[in-house]
């Protein structure tokens, strides 16, 4: 049974399905519906919604509820995410799982509320202090806003680390059919949590390791976790790449546009395919190299002046020429525009 649903609303419904009963947030366009629907829906199933006094407080409330072993989430956009970075670093340092939905808008500064993909670095490289990573998933449809939210909760618990749903204003605001199946969420045991009882009395949630040796051991432990995550959790999707001469690479809303670009180009007999990273961290480097092996050229499209393209270039290690096209400020290129750019770089005259 499908329902016509907004991307931001799908996040909340999926969170509820995942057993998340705690949401701490602060409104910001274009992510506000997530907080609004969390406020509407979560208390109806016995959960807690608190509108915090700031994103700083919201992420620290998340820290508290996660310390107690609960599935918990928050949502925000660029400026709010900047404020949360301190807390995210603490969550990663204390190995606390949580889900953070970011619906990206234009920046830097106040920017505007139109879609951009300019927080890729902040989320995938670690916007806060210290050696840590966020698990970052990039939905490109309303259905994926739900399915990747579910996955984010699972991965967060599995790795005891923040997981980020990195969407953009368009995917958050658009409506598409959403299919949900009612399944009981399997909530993992969290013997490390602090629950205010005899059993968990010895537990400590903390990111301090005072001596250099202890701190090094901790950072190495995190590093191990991240390596395992890189081995096991890369996700991607391809479209018509078998015979592609040029491989287009884009995520989120851009991947939707590029899917149409592939169709348009092929209508004109130009063989192109699409590689869409679903996990931005870990970046699906191996799969990209494998997919690009058969193509002559790679072209990256982003709503930023060049962030993910760095990971594409790192992955390919100079083995293929990488072209780049970007729009920023809230402009999203049409499929026709992307095709024109592609043809210009391919020196195809059509």
């Amino acid at each position: 049974m499908r329902q016509l649903c907004k991307g931001n609303v799908a996040v909340v419904k999926a969170a509820i399905m995942a057993g998340c009963r705690f949401f701490f947030g602060y409104p910001i366009t274009p992510a506000s519906e997530i907080a609004e629907y969390a406020a509407l829906l979560i208390p109806q199933v016995g959960g807690t919604f608190v509108q915090a006094e700031s994103e700083v407080s919201a992420i620290n409330m998340v820290y508290g509820a996660s310390s107690a072993g609960k599935r918990v989430m928050t949502a925000s956009s660029g400026p709010g995410i900047s404020l949360m970075q301190e807390g995210i670093s603490y969550l990663a340092g204390a190995e606390l799982p949580c889900v953070i939905a970011e619906v990206m808008r234009s920046g830097p500064g106040l920017g505007n509320i139109a879609p951009e993909q300019s927080d890729y670095f902040a989320m995938t490289k670690g916007g806060g202090h210290g050696c840590y990573r966020n698990i970052v998933l990039a939905p490109s449809s309303v259905q994926e806003m739900a399915s990747l939210t579910l996955l984010a909760f699972e991965l967060a618990d599995k790795y005891r680390n923040p997981a980020v749903l990195l969407a953009d204003g368009f995917v958050g605001q658009m409506m598409e059919p959403l299919e949900l199946e009612l399944v009981e969420a399997a909530l993992p045991e969290k013997p490390w949590a602090v629950k205010g009882n005899l059993e968990t009395r010895p537990n400590l949630i903390c990111s301090i390791h005072l001596t250099p040796d202890a701190m090094e051991a901790h950072v190495r432990h995190l590093e191990e976790k991240y390596k395992q995550c890189e081995r096991d959790e890369a996700r991607w999707e391809t479209y018509l790449t078998e015979d592609a001469e040029v491989l287009l690479v884009g995520y989120g809303i851009v991947s939707r546009v590029l899917r149409s670009t592939v169709d348009l180009a092929r209508q004109q007999g130009v063989k192109v395919g699409l590689f869409r990273p679903i996990s931005l961290w870990p970046f699906p480097s191996k799969a990209l190299v494998e997919t690009a092996r058969r193509t002559a050229k790679v072209m990256v499209f982003e709503l930023s002046t060049g962030q993910m393209v760095e990971d594409v270039r790192l992955a390919l290690g100079g083995s293929k020429p990488v072209e780049f096209y970007s729009r920023v400020g809230g402009n999203v290129p049409s499929a026709e525009e992307c095709k024109a750019e592609l043809f210009a770089r391919m020196e195809v005259s059509v």
Binding site: M1, R2, Q3, L4, C5, K13, I16, M17, F22, F24, T29, P30, P43, Q44, V45, T48, V50, S54, V56, S57, A58, N60, M61, Y63, G64, A65, S67, A68, G69, K70, E86, G87, Y90, I113, Q173, M174, M175, E176, P177, L182, V194, K195, G196, N197, L198, R201, N203, L204, I205, C206, I208, I253, R256, V257, R259, S260, V262, S334, A335, E336
Partner: protein
């Protein structure tokens, strides 16, 4: 020989050994004469007396008491600087049965964490805050605190705190007591035995209130920091009593029950909340999939308030019930509140690529600016529906079908300007055959909440269809007067 009884043993709420340091694990890391040791002892003893050890979660802040978790044999969570009361909020909400203590110093609570403490107090979080005010930053080496006295020398106020530069000391107990929710706020001082006994009473009372679920409690504890004051412990205690307590008067600032009318939330099943309970308005009812061979793209534009976005949603919903893939993309943000609004709708037999429509098959222009802005983008062979009796004289569109429908005027006749979008929906379905009329009718009636409006909506849909049926020959190139040529 008289027998001696041990009266000051170590509380069982403390660990037997303090692993903070490699040696001397019977001692804390606090300096001799520091108020933290006394405060820790008071808290531990009160927790023991109240039988709360197992239930307690101590939130350690940043500051000298960052290592409180080395001492309290309770659940422990360490927080970022200033965030202890936000972390405590999350902990308490997730563990309502726990006793959550937010232990904070003056820099943590009254400078960097001012927002967190004020709002935790204002929400009436059922936590206890022990606020240690020693008028200095101890851990970082004696910089100015928000509670540093005017004229008091610190490493960042080398000429003394200057009111003309740093303002004056901030009085948190008084500030918190201006809020409605807190149930108990008291300021005490660790200046001498008499006052320490009073402080002990306050600490226990605050915890007892939390145990009862009474609400937000805070004890501000004026405390000596001999190291940064560069005083003997005895002198430092005297300074707290004679100087600090003069600026920060001791006493009970709030001690009352919280009275309010709670507003309850109706409970629902998971299926209801997720919209998959079968009662959902959005379910698809056994339609046979229509044989659409290609995608139809629409752009709908007009003024904010004309129901532009809703019209798009109705079309998308109808398409979905016809088992098509659909996408609806709005213009969003400030535009929604004034000026223009538009949305893009795609109906397709296959997975949809870009949800953005740059060259629509169908344009619904609910006002003239939209027609001027988007009219030329319509694909050759496409359709324009315009809300008006005729096109503006200077506009002409070649190669597309134009249907002029005075939707707003028809809506006014029906008795509600609001239904102009539904009039246009009726006309659209008649003009383009992109979706079946009956499914749209079902969508409309299932979404409506107000019976009076439902009736008007149904009429609007019907009249939109009829208008085109009788007034305009669709399929022909329409002239500027709206009639087919």
């Amino acid at each position: 020989m008289s027998e001696y009884k041990l009266v000051h043993g170590r509380s069982p709420v403390f660990y037997k050994r303090f692993e903070r340091k490699e040696e001397n694990q019977h001692q804390t890391h606090y300096c001799p004469g520091c108020g933290h040791g006394v405060t820790h002892k008071m808290i531990a003893e009160a927790l023991d007396e109240l039988g709360l050890q197992d239930r307690t979660i101590m939130v350690s802040p940043v500051g000298c008491s960052v290592f409180a978790y080395y001492y309290f044999d309770t659940g422990n969570v360490q927080a970022a600087h200033g965030r202890a009361s936000a972390v405590a909020t999350g902990l308490k909400r997730a563990n309502p049965g726990a006793i959550v203590i937010s232990y904070q110093g003056d820099g943590d609570l009254a400078a960097i964490g001012t927002a967190e403490i004020i709002h935790a107090a204002n929400r009436g979080e059922n936590i206890t805050v022990f606020f240690l005010n020693n008028a200095t930053y101890g851990m970082t080496g004696g910089q100015m605190a928000p509670t540093t006295l005017v004229g008091q020398v610190s490493t960042t106020t080398p000429w003394g705190r200057r009111p003309n530069n740093e303002g004056g000391p901030i009085k948190m107990a008084e500030l918190i007591s201006t809020l409605d929710a807190p149930v108990y706020v008291e300021r005490v001082a660790l200046s001498d035995s008499k006052h320490i006994i009073q402080a002990r009473r306050a600490v226990k009372k605050a915890l007892e209130l939390q145990k009862q679920g009474a609400g937000f409690t805070m004890v501000e504890i004026l405390s000596p920091c001999p190291t940064t004051l560069k005083m003997e412990p005895k002198m430092a205690r005297r300074w707290v009593g004679e100087t600090l307590a003069k600026e920060f008067p001791l006493g009970v600032f709030r001690d009352r029950k919280r009275v309010f009318e709670p507003i309850s939330v109706p409970q629902a099943s998971l299926a209801e909340v997720l919209g998959i309970d079968g009662k959902s308005v959005t379910k698809e009812e056994g339609h046979v999939r229509r044989k659409h061979t290609r995608a139809t793209t629409l752009k709908i534009a007009g003024f904010g308030g004309q129901g532009i976005l809703l019209l798009g949603q109705l079309i998308a919903e109808t398409g979905m019930r016809e088992h098509m893939e659909v996408s609806w993309l709005p213009s969003y943000g400030p535009e929604m509140r004034s000026g223009s609004a538009h949305c893009h709708v795609t109906l397709s037999p296959e997975r949809i690529g870009s949800p953005m429509v740059s060259h629509p098959d169908i344009l619904v222009a609910m006002n003239e600016p939209s027609l001027r802005k988007f009219g030329a983008q319509v694909k050759p062979g496409g359709t324009i529906l315009y809300n008006g009796r005729s096109l503006p004289e200077d506009l002409h569109f070649d190669g597309v079908t134009v249907a002029c429908v005075p939707a707003s005027a028809i809506a006014d006749q029906i008795g509600s300007t609001k239904v102009a979008n539904i009039v246009m929906l009726g006309a659209l379905l008649e003009a383009t055959d992109c979706l079946p009329f009956t499914t749209a009718q079902e969508v409309l009636s299932s979404l409506a909440k107000n019976p009076e409006l439902t009736e008007k909506d149904e009429r609007a849909l019907e009249e939109g269809r009829n208008y085109l049926d009788t007034e305009v020959m669709v399929g022909a190139q329409a002239g500027p007067d709206g009639c087919g040529e």
